[in-house]
């Protein structure tokens, strides 16, 4: 494509007042030979965008650079077909004009915030007496601007900042090519693994949306736990009464649905391929078949915590100590009669211990969210079985989230439900088989004993994503559940986890199952994206991903079905799924220079890259989320996107004019587009002042940081590098899971190199920042700039 470049500078929102736009225009025109350069007020207005459209029609402009507001705003006004036009937004407003000292209207504040600028700016003077002078200077400045020489009115540092950003934007646009989306015929069947409440909901919702569904269930019948319930929790307003499960009706509608194929008694033997092209081998009735599917909903649910580990609570020791699951099964089998196991006698005093293992660092460190509700529900079984029967619930804290509070209230009003906070200090049995509980720290105000016919332990939920043999969720191998293996290589002994296959048996280089973050639950970005996993096209729903009730699971099933559909539809258009939804670029590898170092295949957070025996990466484009972590990882710099590459960003840095003067340092900040970029926008919106010496380069993810840039930029006289990315490790907030962590690991290496070059390693620093911490940003940047000042100028400057 031959580029015809149009540069459009917006003069509103204070941009025209703060900057010499003519100088900007000249840069575009003279330095970069732009075909069209225009300044207009309110580019985002209909008239404004019409100017661009006219140029597209009349001048064949295909590369559009909009220098105005943040790329996050007015997206509709600058929405040009990405397959025809390269659009680059230079954020003059939010990142520059709004973060810099206002020209003359607030001299005292300006003085306080940035004395250096006040000194260098002609029209700006410190002190209170300058007020009138400054006020007088403004109209003069405007007059000059209209006369063609407004340099006296603008802050020199701000202007330089804007100019460098325009240059960087020009370079980026010029280096961008139009994406060539990979469009292939894909299979749009949705495979749902697990036929419980969640899976059934997923299957029905997908079918209702018009998609073919294959529902695979391990057991001989659909329904999962829901079929074993005597009654279910209230799931409709006013959330007060339990009711009989209606799972049979749902099973029937699944069976009657032409679009849903049900395979029961089945196991997934192998999952190969990528979104749109999954080939899943399913075995059932001692035969196996391959199912082609486009996306997968993983709804394999939960299992109860192994109560054999609760011997200290009398389980396995006393016959009348049972789990809540057993209570459910017994009541269901008897049709509502509450009897106890030892002698079949009617149990009219039933004690429940909440958190039987949950929120206990030795057992399940998390709250299972449903056990309090389950005990309240089972307490109603007790009171309904006999008007004189009572249920004693001993809890650490009652947790009945959301509208279930109404059910809690209803249960409290039940005279037969007796609740107390307390700590059960001993559990014993008397000769009649009754269970004696000794309870301390009760709100009854004393240590008490209570005798019950039967004790129900409210045990918690464990995800079925954990292999069956795993007993202790607190002691898992990191990231993947499996076994440690030590292999001897030429680099020494490598210790790695060989993941255990559980359900998916993925044919992925990264292992047969999905990574977890905590306690075995398949991990995704934990704040923003439910259902997502770290395997594109596979969506976890229901209790497999987090403990939840049947009602929540049903919602989850629907939600995950929608994600699966989104994935299919985007993949069919060659587009990325979240978070870069609609991105049609994809990583391309120049294999001739590949050294088979495996960095990219190891670092890819989504298991996009498989590798052959030699270690040559094999891409599965549709698994890719376009973060560019592979691009950052590659020491050969052979991975790039059409519109995002190592060379492009290196050139952007080279476009920065590094002045000779020592009082004008240049600092490059690589900012993550998901958090740091908007954080900076918000800082600007709040008119927080930041140092004018920063030059911002927006990254898809810090994971794309290639070390070559740092060497290049430092040798070009850049004083320092600030990488502003997301929090990583256990509390990570990275949209691409491990991008900011990967950047940090690489940084450790570059810092060693810097030390060897007798440069301060802190010249390259990474900070973790969430979007809501925008108010910290100016200080972070100020501190870093201050530190660089202490180090003195980059010795390579001027070479």
């Amino acid at each position: 494509m031959e580029q015809k470049v149009g540069v459009y500078v917006c003069s509103d929102c204070g941009i025209g007042d703060a900057l010499n736009l003519e100088a900007l225009e000249n840069i575009a025109r003279n330095e970069y030979r732009a075909d069209v350069v225009k300044t207009a007020p309110f580019l985002c207005s209909q008239e404004g965008s019409q100017i661009i459209k006219d140029d597209i029609n009349n001048e064949d402009i295909n590369t559009i650079i909009v220098a105005g507001c943040s790329a996050r705003f007015n997206t509709d006004a600058f929405d040009f077909d990405p397959l025809k036009f390269v659009v680059e937004r230079v954020n003059l407003r939010d990142h520059i004009v709004w973060t810099q000292t206002p020209k003359a209207d607030q001299p005292s504040e300006a003085e306080e915030a940035a004395p250096a600028e006040a000194e260098s700016a002609d029209s700006q003077a410190g002190g209170e007496e300058a007020e009138t002078e400054a006020g007088a200077a403004e109209p003069a400045g405007e007059a000059e601007a209209s006369a063609g020489d407004s340099s006296a009115a603008v802050n020199e540092n701000t202007q330089e900042m804007a100019e460098d950003h325009l240059r960087m934007g020009m370079v980026r646009a010029k280096k961008s090519e139009l994406p060539k989306p990979q469009i292939e015929e894909i299979n749009k069947t949705i495979l749902v693994i697990g036929g419980g409440a969640t899976g059934i909901s997923s299957a029905l919702e997908s079918a209702a949306a018009g998609y073919d569904v294959v529902l695979v269930e391990k057991e001989a019948e659909l329904g999962g736990w829901a079929r074993k319930m005597y009654k279910i929790l209230p799931d409709k307003p006013p959330f007060e009464q339990t009711r009989k499960p209606d799972i049979d009706e749902k099973i029937k509608s699944v069976q009657d649905n032409d679009k849903i194929r049900v395979i029961t008694g089945a196991n997934v033997k192998k999952t190969a391929g990528e979104p749109g092209k999954y080939e899943v081998t399913v075995s059932h009735n001692s035969s196996s078949e391959t199912i082609n599917a486009g996306s997968i909903v993983l709804a394999i649910g939960w299992k109860p915590y192994n109560a054999d580990r609760l011997g200290h609570m009398g389980y396995g020791k006393f016959p009348n100590v049972i789990t809540n699951v057993e209570m459910e099964e017994r009541t269901s089998a008897s049709g509502g009669q509450i009897t106890r196991p030892s002698d079949g006698k009617q149990a009219t005093r039933v004690a429940f211990i909440q958190c039987a293992g949950q929120r206990d660092p030795e057992h399940l460190p998390y709250c299972s969210t449903v056990c309090c509700l389950t005990s309240l529900k089972q307490a109603t079984y007790v009171t309904e079985s006999d008007p004189e029967a009572a249920a004693f619930i001993i809890y650490k804290d009652m947790r009945t989230p959301g509208l279930y509070e109404e059910f809690y209230k209803t249960s409290q009003d039940n005279p037969g439900v007796m609740l107390t906070k307390g700590e059960v200090t001993s559990i014993s049995e008397d000769e009649t088989g009754n269970i004696i509980l000794e309870i301390d720290n009760t709100i009854l105000g004393e240590k008490v004993m209570v005798a019950a016919d039967m004790l129900v332990l409210a045990t918690g939920m464990v995800t079925n994503a954990l292999p069956a043999h795993i007993e202790d969720v607190t002691d898992l191998t990191p990231e993947y559940v499996g076994q440690w293996r030590e292999t001897e290589t030429q680099d020494g002994i490598i210790k790695e986890v060989i993941a255990d296959p559980v359900v998916l048996n993925l044919e992925y280089r990264q292992g047969p199952e999905m990574p977890y973050l905590k306690y075995g639950f398949p991990d995704s970005h934990f704040i923003c994206f439910p259902y997502e996993t770290r395997r594109t096209g596979i969506y976890a729903a229901g209790a497999v991903r987090a403990p939840m009730t049947a009602m929540q699971s049903v919602n989850d099933g629907g939600g995950a079905a929608l994600k699966a559909i989104q994935c299919l539809e985007l993949t069919a258009q060659g587009m990325s799924v979240h978070p870069r939804v609609g991105d049609m670029s994809f990583p391309e590898i120049n294999f001739t220079n590949c050294t088979q170092c495996r960095r990219c295949t190891v670092e890819c957070p989504f298991g996009v890259l498989d590798e052959d025996e030699k270690g040559t990466p094999k891409t599965n484009t549709f698994r890719c989320r376009r973060c560019g972590t592979c691009m950052g990882a590659c020491p050969q710099r052979i991975i790039s996107f059409n519109n995002y590459s190592v060379g492009m960003i290196a050139d952007q840095m080279k476009a920065i004019k590094v002045p000779e003067e020592d009082d004008k340092p240049r600092i490059v900040a690589l900012i993550c587009e998901n958090d740091a970029y908007p954080a900076l926008d918000i800082a600007g919106l709040n008119r927080m002042n930041i140092s004018p010496f920063y030059r911002f380069i927006s990254m898809r993810c810090l994971g794309g940081t290639n070390l070559v840039w740092i060497a290049d930029a430092l040798s070009a006289g850049i004083e320092g590098f600030l990488l502003i990315g997301c929090r990583f490790d256990d509390e990570y907030q990275c949209h691409f899971i491990k991008g900011s962590k990967a950047a940090n690991e690489r940084l450790g290496k570059v810092q060693e190199t810097l030390s060897r070059l007798m440069l301060e390693s802190e010249r390259v620093t990474q900070v973790e920042l969430a979007m809501n911490e925008w108010d910290r940003l100016p200080q972070i940047m100020e501190d870093f700039a201050e530190q660089l000042k202490e180090f003195g100028p980059n010795p390579f400057k001027g070479f």
Partner: protein, 449 residues
């Protein structure tokens, strides 16, 4: 025997968790040999030989005690005005806002919990349910609208059958369905007195007294008959209450012993201070939400005092002279007479008091609720008492016989109702609350005034 085992297993369990588990598993076999929910009498726990060993370790760490949750009791509390009992989630706002509770183990939070668990014995063998003055500060401040004040009152009411014997009378008085029957009893008694025993007349003639023909109630119903019948019930009431006080004190004492609390003084030593507190209504003044209750209650309190004085003086004038062979003064007494003085002032105080009480009930309805049947029975009774009393006097003066005699009859029924059921109705509070106050003082468990 059983009790020893309870203690033994408790101590073992307290000693160490790991061993306790095994030990308790064996030893407590006997501990819970009584699986019956109804513990009924405190015998199982409070048998004498169980007392001293329980009191000893209490100083260090209280041993666990077997509790017997009683759902019937919970239902009963909920049916007696404590309908919202179970809403309580033990935030303790009630105990925090209560001004009349002692600081240590404050009420009504623990009572709410005990009541939710149906721990009847704990509740009624405790001075606290009667120390509560139903200010209803707690009810007004309760974030969950569990109305602790109402629960306290319901429990207090429900403790009466255990204290005033025979208990079925208390149950009758407390039950709206029994109202007709309970009213019929004094009506029949009085009718019998008039028609058969007392020699009164249902169609009394007017009598000339002091030169004026006027209504004389003595002809309707002989004063001597009234005095005999009413005195009998009055004395019976006092006896029942005295036994009730003994019961209550015994229960509280036994409970305190189990808890290892030693009384500092005897009960009698506290009579003086308690009376002085009652006379001044100091504790009542601490209510926040219903401050005005102190005034209205003081009026009623002194009204009853004055009316009692009127009765006493009239008895003195009627029968006193007989002792030395003179002739007693018969009713009607002259308008200027000590009896009349006490009567008029008492009636005035009573009307003001009961009027204020009624107004306050409505005024505080939003914040503290209207109160239960148990409350209103007494309020209505006092209203009837006051107005029929005044009415009797007024109609007699105005010489309207058609109204005077029936009014007088109703008045007598009301008074008899009050006397007969005093130990079983809300009237009993004056005695049991006093007992609770004395016990609390003796146990060193009292609010500084």
């Amino acid at each position: 025997m059983a009790d020893e085992n309870v203690e033994k297993s408790e101590e073992t369990a307290g000693a160490g968790e790991a061993q306790a588990e095994a030990a308790a598993a064996e030893e407590s076999v006997v501990a819970t040999a009584n699986p019956e929910p109804e513990s009924g009498e405190p015998g199982a726990e409070g048998a004498p030989e169980g007392e001293s060993p329980a009191a000893e370790p209490a100083a260090q760490e209280a041993p666990a005690r077997m509790i017997q949750p009683d759902i019937k009791f919970v239902r009963e509390v909920m049916g007696s005005g404590g309908n919202d009992l179970k809403k309580c989630f033990q935030c303790a706002s009630c105990s925090v806002v209560c001004n009349v509770t002692p600081d240590d183990h404050p009420f009504p939070r623990k009572e709410m919990m005990w009541a939710q668990w149906g721990l009847k014995e704990k509740l009624i063998a405790n001075p606290d349910i009667w120390l509560c003055h139903q200010c209803n500060d707690c009810t007004a401040q309760c974030p969950r609208d569990a109305k602790p004040g109402r629960v306290m009152q319901a429990v207090a009411k429900m403790s009466i059958p255990s204290l005033s014997k025979p208990g079925f009378l208390a149950k009758g008085v407390g039950s709206p369905t029994a109202l007709l029957l309970m009213t019929a009893i004094p009506v029949i008694i009085l009718a019998l007195v008039i028609g058969v025993l007392g020699g009164g007349s249902f169609t009394p003639e007017r009598e000339v007294l002091g030169g004026v023909e006027q209504i004389v109630y003595n002809n309707f119903m002989k004063t001597i008959a009234i005095d005999i019948v009413f005195s009998t019930f009055f004395i019976l009431g006092i006896l029942v209450l005295a036994l009730g006080v003994r019961n209550y004190w015994g229960m509280m004492k036994a409970h305190a012993d189990r808890e290892g609390i030693r009384l500092k003084t005897g009960g009698l030593a506290q009579v003086g201070p308690v009376l002085s507190e009652i006379i001044t209504h100091k504790r009542f003044g601490k209510c926040d939400e219903t401050k005005d209750r102190k005034t209205s209650h003081l009026f009623i309190f002194y009204s009853f005092g004055l009316l009692f004085a009127a009765t006493a003086v009239s008895v003195l004038y009627t029968y006193g002279p007989l002792l030395w062979g003179g002739e007693g003064t018969h009713s009607p007494f002259p308008t200027i007479h000590p009896v009349k003085f006490f009567g008029y002032t008492g009636a005035a105080a009573g009307v003001i008091g009961i009027g204020l009480i009624t107004i306050n009930r409505f005024k505080h309805q939003q914040k503290t609720g209207m109160g239960s049947y148990f409350d209103w029975l007494l309020i209505v009774l006092v209203i009837v008492l006051m107005f029929t009393g005044i009415g009797s006097a007024a109609f007699r003066k105005l010489d309207i016989g058609v109204l005077a005699y029936p009014t007088y009859f109703v008045h007598l029924v009301a008074v008899l109702f009050l006397f007969m059921y005093a130990p079983f109705s809300k009237m009993a509070h004056m005695v049991y609350r006093g007992t609770a106050m004395a016990f609390a003082r003796a146990a060193g468990r009292d609010t500084p005034m």
